[in-house]
Symmetry: D2
Subunit: 367 residues, 4 copies
């Protein structure tokens, strides 16, 4: 049952609303004996924090994570880890408008239709604020992965914003953390910034983006066919993030355009095992990792909370219009980058544990 | 735990290998009292059957489904439904080559690396033959949906093959069942056929495709945020199908290119409830159905089993080359269409039951 | 996966250690629209609270429950409900003895052997303190049941302590809340008190007990054969409570002594449906409720934390002895009563939702 | 979701009705590389087979198990294992009586009330015939345990029938397989036989029984607190077996009668690790195995299908009487013994895999 829980053996349950007293993640299944201090989690929280630049929402949240359970003397004990983040900047204001009107393109209307009650303040449970809990849980996953797979690197970045794409020839891993967009291409980062300034200030608009996330150093053999495949779980993980409308692995949608001859990643024998001529597969074959980079990509739609007027209806069923004021991300893709990394960390740890349970140290040798 | 099981309340567990004695699906959670005869399931099996045209594998399988449990006097009883399909055309042949060599782009190598043992005959469990069991299970889901949502229509079709796309202006629902490609555009269907003839015969190659699947008539309110969202489960369902590398809902990856103003599906009040000016969302907001058409799309990569020689290695770790002879689909996207419909039926029934359990007849009214 | 999570659709995940900063329950799957205020939960917490009488541990805890999420304007929203209880009376003391020595009959040794690390303070996660979170979650279940099944009554009570049994002829429902033992027989309650005074003060010993829990007003048809049967889930729920060593439904272990003729609850037709001549079955046949009282009973072993010296070993593997001082319940059965009620409430609500999801309003009529 | 599925990582889903064409078990999560031939499973099927002596039902079933998937060249592959057993002795007869009348003490009435449709032939899904599939699945678990824990021994036996108990002083492991009752006491076995002859022939009655099951050779550390405890899962496993009304671990219900001083299993250091002075705990502390014998016990009620007339009602709601003719077990406890062993094997393998996944080779050393 994955209603508010994600994962098989490493399981996160996130809870909390945008404007409630707190939110957090209940993390079950973290292996015992992993060093875990709040600072480690805080490190990842900083990346997702609102108000980090002018390009994200100006809501101010310390996003301070308290570890309420599951560790003892700085080490995980194998029991559930409760991570709590107090909300501190729920502005007291008049919510009348969004309480009665539905924002087009927002979950306002469907939450109402489903539940018949909704916490409209800041979007309630459907707010991107929920992803803070994911990043916290991802921090735990990272800590465990740090022990189990010390060479693993998980890195997310933006490759497109609206009509603008990065140039892969300028791809620079070091650049990613240097700009406000987690963008590996400094030229594109500049263009992203200019475009977003214009959209926000002049066009009263928002824009979509593409985020890519890569795991380097994953061993072959992870993934549980046929419904718990590694790519299936990664697709679910990413699609569950707010505003995501498409997910790709390796070539993704472009795989439709290729022939079998072009798409085949040819194999030869290297000193440390199989070596591939290319990575169209994105590191996953038959739902199982090949040992190459695992490459996942997803599209984030533009936020529906914009200053431009759109036609909509009220709860009472009357036609009206709406303009969403308040603090909103003009490009939610930016803050989706650390969330993607966190979800990837959770999936990879989960599959590592699952593989260990199912197969142990087994698996086939080559050569 | 979703290893070989998919679903929350309506759960399918598929089993069986390409060249074993049989394969099938254990279907748990079908509501009681649903009329279900083998013929109903057989109807859907025909669509996926190999050898239906010259464009698919020439393996001959009756794909006859036996219902071994869960029905009584032609009606479901609420107990598990076992659907078994005997394999009848597992050709006795020398498997030496694929037993020792790994096909580039195929799950041969990862299954070996994971499990240390594999049924290499026809790809074993990683064969697309597994999807026959999904279609059978989908037949059960369709029967139940027929009772619970008699106006629901689930329709899949191909929108692209390699470089060729359909023209949406020629979209004709009636055309879909008329050609070998489940293609709604008769002109594109003709082009698909010509292209595939050339690829198979002259180029010894294969090609990818894009499949779209639409559900019309779904009520608003289905979907279980935030990890069992309707789109999350649809993404998982589609990504779990062999060869799928990307999944989209509504605008999909193109959502990245849009602005908030353009992407907003404006709402007005119609006689029967909310009416939307467009459907960029693909019928899902915040993971919950809006009542519009639910639109899912995915890309299928070209099969790796081609007559062209590719470089690879042996289990012993020696460099070599491989040419895959035998009966393979040059475009696996064709037979993925009924599989997509089946998976969508399973997801929609599952969420209908889940919603009924969680919320009952509740939910909010508009107007 | 039921590691720290219990339930199918109504799911509770408890977290927290005896001497950590807090503990609680993450409650997922509560239906929307249920009125829920902290006071309602607090009401049930009082019953389990330590230090309620001289017969329970003298640890002082306010056991105040904060609702951190999942409600809005006093009503549940269908999203996860986080219930947090701050620990306030974790006495700062020297834990040296139980840090190095294992208490015989206690989970000290197995937690160590399993995890290689343990929070020994107050038993950590294996402490009965964890059950506070269950009672809080049970309060949510009660609130939802109050709406869905207003006539349902769940009542637990003690029927035996050590060698002393209640006399069923003196059974008085009103008496249960009047004494310190939740005992329906006032004479037995007096005897329990005298016995426990002697055990604690003079014998430096502890004692086991039998707790019974009855649900009156449950409709027929709840239970999900064959592995999610109502009695299976009740057995799991009760066996998961600390110190429980046996669980019975209806006749329980005595069923072995009966003949088929005696055990059959004969049926006749009453004005409101089937009427049974007896209830040997404890209200459950084939894992499904009959509509009679559901009767569950379990035995709680005596606590291993006693002032009498017992032989044991240290972590270093040396033979030694141990005397457990500190604040412990001489009869944990007393405080197990509200825990049993809470677990029963969770199971019943869960099965009510599950049934609604699977079967809807269906089911067979009689007459 | 454990509707018709049991287990966390090693998962069995049983399917099939008493008088349908076949029944079986879908086994998911068996580790790869385990030698598995049908004969190994058949070995365990023989023990449960009906008609093995005059004391069990005279239905004749070959109970031949076909392995339809999941093995290759006699070895498991890590994919789902489908085990099918054809029903061969569903006697064609007039079911009119049980189709219209409900047997008191039988699931006839609750299945009807829940589902509104039921396969009344032989009890359909609620028949003890379902346990054949459990024994088959248990055969797979035994095969895997044979590799992973070669010294593990799982042995079930009957300790009581109606008023008759074994004498523990005459307990002889070798005797268990020698008599018709899996009874470790030859004198009691004789008495069981005489009693049952009289009950069946002269009294037209049936009787309950107590079954005990012991696992010897289990390492410490297995069990997943606090809701997937080893004893919790064993209790669920046993309570899910038809006709079981009570489950005990170690002292079981008698634990209520003991004092803490008596109940404590004192610990000393032996050459191979901790040694316990007694085993009141039944090998489980805090839900985790201690390394001692794991001892589970359960009571089976007398079957409700007897030749004596009982009062009941019809589906139409009319008062009537019923006498159940046909082939029934006068003491279902006998054939419950191999079922108990099978369920225990499934639980232990499951927890072994779970522990391996969660903790790996970790865990604390003593000494």
């Amino acid at each position: 049952m994955s209603l508010n829980t994600f994962g098989h053996l490493f399981r996160i349950t996130t809870w909390g609303e945008s404007h409630g007293p707190a939110l957090g993640a209940t993390v079950d299944g973290c292996p015992p004996g992993v060093p875990l201090e709040p600072e480690q989690i805080q490190h990842w929280m900083e990346a997702r924090k609102p108000g980090r630049s002018k390009h994200t929402t100006q809501r101010r949240e310390a996003d301070e994570v308290e570890i309420l359970s599951g560790t003892f003397e700085g080490v995980t004990t194998g029991t559930p880890i409760q991570l709590m983040i107090r909300n501190t900047d729920q502005r007291s204001k008049d919510y009348g408008d969004i309480a009665e009107k539905f924002r087009p393109g927002h979950a306002d209307i469907t939450y109402w239709q489903k539940y018949g009650v909704r916490d409209y303040r800041g979007g309630g449970r459907s707010s991107a604020r929920e992803t803070a809990a994911r990043v916290a849980a991802g921090g735990v996953a990272r800590a465990a992965l740090g022990q189990l797979l010390p060479n693993l690197r998980i890195t997310g970045y933006m490759t497109a914003m609206g009509p603008l794409d990065i140039d892969r020839d300028r791809f620079d891993w070091e650049e990613i953390a240097r700009n406000d967009f987690w963008c590996p291409d400094p030229v594109a980062a500049q263009a992203f910034g200019d475009h977003l300034d214009w959209l926000r200030r002049d066009d009263h608009n928002s824009v979509g983006a593409i985020v890519e996330c890569v795991a380097r150093g994953l061993p072959p053999g992870l993934g549980a066919p046929v419904y718990g495949k590694l790519d299936t779980d990664l697709a679910a993980a990413m699609m569950s993030i707010n505003a995501v409308k498409g997910v790709e692995v390796g070539e993704g949608m472009q795989a439709a355009r290729l022939t079998g001859r072009d798409n085949a990643d040819e194999i030869s024998m290297g000193p440390g095992g199989p070596v591939y001529s290319s990575n169209h597969a994105g590191g996953i074959l038959g739902g199982i990792s090949t040992g190459q980079d695992v490459v996942v990509r997803f599209a984030v739609k533009p936020t529906s909370s914009i200053l431009s007027e759109r036609r909509t209806i009220t709860k009472a069923g009357e036609d009206t219009t709406i303009v969403t004021r308040g603090r909103h991300d003009p490009c939610v893709g930016i803050r989706a980058v650390p969330v993607a990394e966190a979800m990837m960390a959770c999936v990879l740890l989960d599959h590592l544990l699952l593989h260990r349970g199912q197969v142990g140290d087994g698996g086939g040798r080559i050569g």
